[in-house]
């Protein structure tokens, strides 16, 4: 975990790499190619790059019409605009008719940094998750961004994918397999499940490795697809650890915390804590400083993990994973369907 690259850069480079082999997509931009990373594609394939100016509503609905001709538009802008400025165009013109349009947005969450609250989308995952027919993806590192970009192009239907602004460590190697709708367990553990999405995954891994030295074994699961959610992996992990913590650079309302709560409250009510933006707007600042102030940083996570494990041990003393597994056979069968 020493090399770093931002997810938007990774996305821009992936577009060029994938674009050399497949001609079935074009890129739409609303005058933010420098910010979203698509300038790589613009400079390499100018004839496949469409500039719409600072006019997102027209861009999104035009993408709907464009896609009916069998070429996939990848529509790119900042997450704030993709999820709010033009969301009704996305809902009515893209999602409702289930058109093959991919929406890839940068500048999500506090990771956006100095631009401040106007440009830090803390709602995009919640908004997109609530729209029928949408697939919602938030990759964790540059390798996953590239794999996910290819995967969403293979998927026939509307997708929202979130990238990121700041450089993050490269976690995965070339053998990493990304599949839409599958959560990957990166690290196994028994004490608590850390369900992380996007750039929070590297923080989860850092904390998990640190706490191992103190005898706390975190299970780290990468929830890169928020919809459709990999219920089975989530429930299995919750049954195993009996304590979960969600981690997202997003409002704790409606995003990953919401998604995990919906699944676990239905199938496997579990002790749960959330790490994320606590229903407030951000502000200007460097991403690492903002992470600290808004409790998304390593030390805040460690504190929450320790608290959660302590609470769990108080209530769960004497009960073993094996006993619990026997207690819920019908539930597991249900999940496996």
């Amino acid at each position: 975990m020493n090399k770093k690259m931002s997810l938007r850069e990774a996305f821009g480079k992936a577009l060029v790499k994938i674009g050399r082999n497949r001609k079935d997509f074009v890129v739409f931009d609303a005058d933010v190619a420098g910010g979203t990373g698509t300038y790589h594609f613009r400079d390499t394939f100018p004839e496949r790059f469409f500039q719409f100016g600072i006019a997102e509503q027209n861009m999104f609905a035009a993408a709907a019409g464009f896609s009916t001709l069998g070429i996939t538009p990848i529509v790119t802008t900042y997450a704030v605009f993709a999820s709010m400025r033009a969301i009704e165009q996305v809902r009515n013109s893209i999602a409702y008719p289930k058109l093959n349009v991919k929406i890839v947005a940068s500048h999500p969450g506090l990771d956006t940094g100095p631009d401040g609250a106007t440009h830090q989308a803390v709602e995009d995952l919640a908004i997109y998750r609530a729209i029928p027919n949408m697939v919602v993806i938030s990759p964790a590192d540059p390798v996953e961004v590239e794999k996910a970009t290819e995967a969403i192009l293979d998927y026939p239907g509307p997708v929202y994918m979130r990238t990121g602004r700041s450089p993050v460590p490269i976690i995965f190697d070339e053998n990493y397999k990304f599949e839409i709708g599958r959560a990957n367990t990166i690290l196994e553990g028994e004490d608590v499940s850390l369900f992380a999405t996007g750039i929070m995954l590297h923080r989860a891994l850092e904390v998990a490795q640190y706490l191992r030295k103190y005898g706390i074994y975190c299970e780290v699961v990468n929830i890169s697809t928020l919809k459709p959610l990999d219920k089975e992996t989530i429930i299995r992990s919750a049954i195993k650890t009996k304590a979960v913590i969600t981690m997202e650079d997003h409002n704790v309302i409606g995003g990953l915390a919401g998604a995990i709560s919906e699944v676990l409250s239905y199938y496997e009510p579990t002790l749960m804590r959330t790490i994320g933006i606590k229903d407030c707007f951000g502000e200007s600042g460097e991403p690492n400083d903002l992470a600290k102030k808004y409790h998304l940083d390593r030390d805040s996570i460690i504190k929450i993990v320790e608290e959660t494990v302590a609470i769990k041990n108080k209530f769960m003393r004497g009960r073993k994973w094996k006993d619990l597994k026997i207690k819920y056979p019908s539930l597991l069968a249900q999940v496996e369907e």
Binding site: A55, N58, M59, A62, A64, T68, L69, I71, Q89, S93
Partner: protein, 276 residues
């Protein structure tokens, strides 16, 4: 031309009967658009109801989606689906939704209903047509009230920027929007000058005069390197005296039995088109 006028009358009767049976809908704005839609489907566009996905077909997008009874009547008359389906409009399990749905209705090119979006979608189709080197044409019908939407002017800029001479926008300028006259709700005049300023070719016609509609489409085909907008002056509720130019008949409203009879009598005095 006589045949087109007859066809338009037939579509008007279907529109009224459909909305009557549905119990709600938008009769005024459907009737004002009938003649334009008639010319598009029965004269102008290269389409094939036997092969609705023919890739070189011309495309029509009804951006003022609430006028879909007129579109559905044209599609059924053209053979895209059985005419009896028309009478399921707005009912549960119907292939005819209250606003156009491209997934359930054969021949509908784009799901529309939220104003401004169909116009942008048509721009996307025209842009894609140029990109893949197809020479089909794209027609998009907008309401006049729809012009209040900012997205329309984003699109207007975009279409002329990309020199989309394969795109024709028609404004159904009936002077009325949902609640009141355009001039009272939100005045967008001078309209033709606005489109000119956005670098479009502009044509102004009587939207109920079929030869004028035909000529306008022919002229648009000869105009190169710019999109064309046809400002079609129309009458809301055209053909039915008590509906004409009356904001009450925008929607969601349906004629009752008595009103339907009067309306059909006025159109051609002939009997109902039966529910086969």
């Amino acid at each position: 031309m006589d045949k087109l006028y007859q066809k338009a009358t037939k579509l008007r009767k279907l529109v009224l009967q459909m909305i009557h049976q549905a119990g709600s809908g938008h009769p005024g704005g459907s009737l004002s658009a009938v003649d334009i839609i008639t010319v598009l489907y029965f004269y102008e566009m290269r389409i094939d109801s036997k092969n609705p996905n023919w890739e070189n077909r011309d495309r029509f997008v009804l951006s003022k989606g609430h006028a879909c009874p007129a579109l559905y009547a044209a599609l059924a008359e053209k053979g895209f689906f059985p005419k009896k389906d028309l009478f399921s409009l707005r009912k549960i399990n119907s292939r005819l939704q209250g606003h156009p749905d491209m997934l359930t209705t054969p021949g509908v090119e784009m799901s529309t209903g939220s104003l401004g979006q169909g116009f942008s979608a048509a721009i996307g189709m025209a842009l894609a047509g140029k990109y893949i080197g197809k020479n089909f044409r794209v027609y998009v019908l907008l309401g006049d009230g729809e012009l209040d939407e900012g997205e329309v002017w984003e699109g207007a800029m975009c279409a002329s920027h990309y020199e989309l001479d394969n795109l024709v926008a028609i404004i159904d300028y009936n002077g009325l929007q949902s609640d009141n006259y355009n001039t009272k709700t939100m005045n967008f005049e001078p309209l033709v000058e606005k489109w000119k300023a956005f670098n479009w070719y502009t044509l102004e016609i009587d939207g109920h005069n079929i030869p004028q509609i035909v000529n306008a489409f022919n002229r648009a085909k000869r105009l190169k390197r710019k999109p064309t907008v046809i400002v079609a002056h129309t009458v809301k509720g055209k053909g039915v005296s008590f509906m004409e130019d009356n904001p009450k008949w925008h929607g969601s409203l349906a004629p009752d039995d008595e009103q339907l009879k009067i309306a059909l009598d006025e159109l051609d005095g002939k009997e109902l088109i039966t529910n086969e």
